[in-house]
Symmetry: C2
Subunit: 225 residues, 2 copies
């Protein structure tokens, strides 16, 4: 069945967070290793969400977690960072195929992020990166974080579509396993340099995803009638 | 203060619901007066939301209220309408200035609907009418209906903006009174034929709104630096 909507992981799948955040860090904190800082900052992402997923903390938008984690990483490195550096996550550059691929997909499908980023963060990032979303779905809609099944299901429900009419697109196998368990179709698009040249994870699909494509333009070609 | 975001009423302000719904009704129910049917259908809109605003019924998306009201109006007229006719509200045509005006405003501001329509309805309507929204705000975000102040405030909060950094744009004075009471800036754009050639309401502003503009292109010019 051709999906009526495609929903996308964003950090890593649509945008190159590592080099973009490093650029923003470097502009504000010239004395730190900016790429190492970006990697350490991102490493705090999942533990911060885990407490919320587990119910140990109420839902807090990712913007606030990013700010808290910024100060933790800066403190660990013995530097002081301004709150405003948190907005680095709104200034991430897309992989080269993303904007033309999304424009091609948008002609036949609803396209929306299903990210752990908030509506505010995804809206500003879309303006920076020219991502032509039809609407913003994901964590804010569900008031919870992926890979909890409710996040995928709430995104489908917001479109009034059953999960089987929606395809999750991600560069991360674990995101797709969770989406499939929630009843969605799945598409894997690898991003082999998300974590740098020596990346070892998510280089290949680890299951029989419904579509496997080298980039978003090829994904659009595979879904065309 | 220049608003960082502009949020818009949609039915009447951005799109000509009356003639568009009449066109869809006429295609499916050739024996009824299609314009009269559209007007009667719309007349059920506010009473249906009122029960939800007052707490007499939990939040139900407008798509469902439209379907319920469709069958009520059809029944009153002694005809049977298919559920699918409810999707007429996803096929409304924009006033001629809306798309170019929104594109001009989008270069400097976040633009989003703050409508009583659901995310699903606003997303499909945006695809039909080529409305270039940055995200979809409004009733679904707040799980309540305008003019309750929480709907305007939840839309600002989703963008992580204080109400005074957001401007509500509407063709209806009552919508702007409610937005102003919630702390937002206000812009009035009259739509003197929303209810047909003999319209008597909302022809002129009834308060000193922050901006009064004949159309969205003029609104963009007035907000330009």
């Amino acid at each position: 069945m051709t999906p009526q909507a495609l929903i996308f992981d964003v950090f890593g799948t649509c945008v190159d967070w590592r080099s973009s955040v490093a650029r923003e860090v470097g502009a504000v904190l010239p004395r730190v290793d900016a790429t190492a800082f970006a990697t350490l900052w991102r490493a705090e992402y999942d533990p911060a969400m885990a407490r919320i997923r587990d119910g140990g903390r109420g839902y807090v938008p990712l913007d606030d977690l990013h700010r808290e984690n910024l100060h933790k990483v800066a403190g660990d490195l013995g530097v002081t960072a301004p709150d405003s550096l948190s907005h680095a996550w709104e200034k991430l550059d897309p992989w080269p195929d993303v904007v033309p691929g999304l424009l091609a997909l948008k002609t036949r499908h609803i396209i929306a992020p299903c990210s752990n980023g908030s509506i505010a963060l995804m809206t500003r990032l879309a303006k920076h990166a020219a991502l032509p979303w039809d609407c913003i779905l994901g964590a804010d809609i569900a008031q919870d974080y992926k890979p909890k099944p409710g996040v995928y299901r709430a995104s489908c429900a917001a479109l009034r579509l059953p999960p089987e009419a929606v395809m999750m697109v991600a560069a991360h196998n674990d995101d797709l396993h969770a989406a499939r368990a929630a009843g969605l179709q799945t598409a894997f698009v690898p991003r082999p340099t998300e974590h740098g040249e020596r990346q070892t994870t998510d280089l290949v699909p680890d299951a029989d995803w419904d579509v496997i494509a080298p980039d978003f333009l090829d994904l659009a070609r595979q879904l065309a009638p």
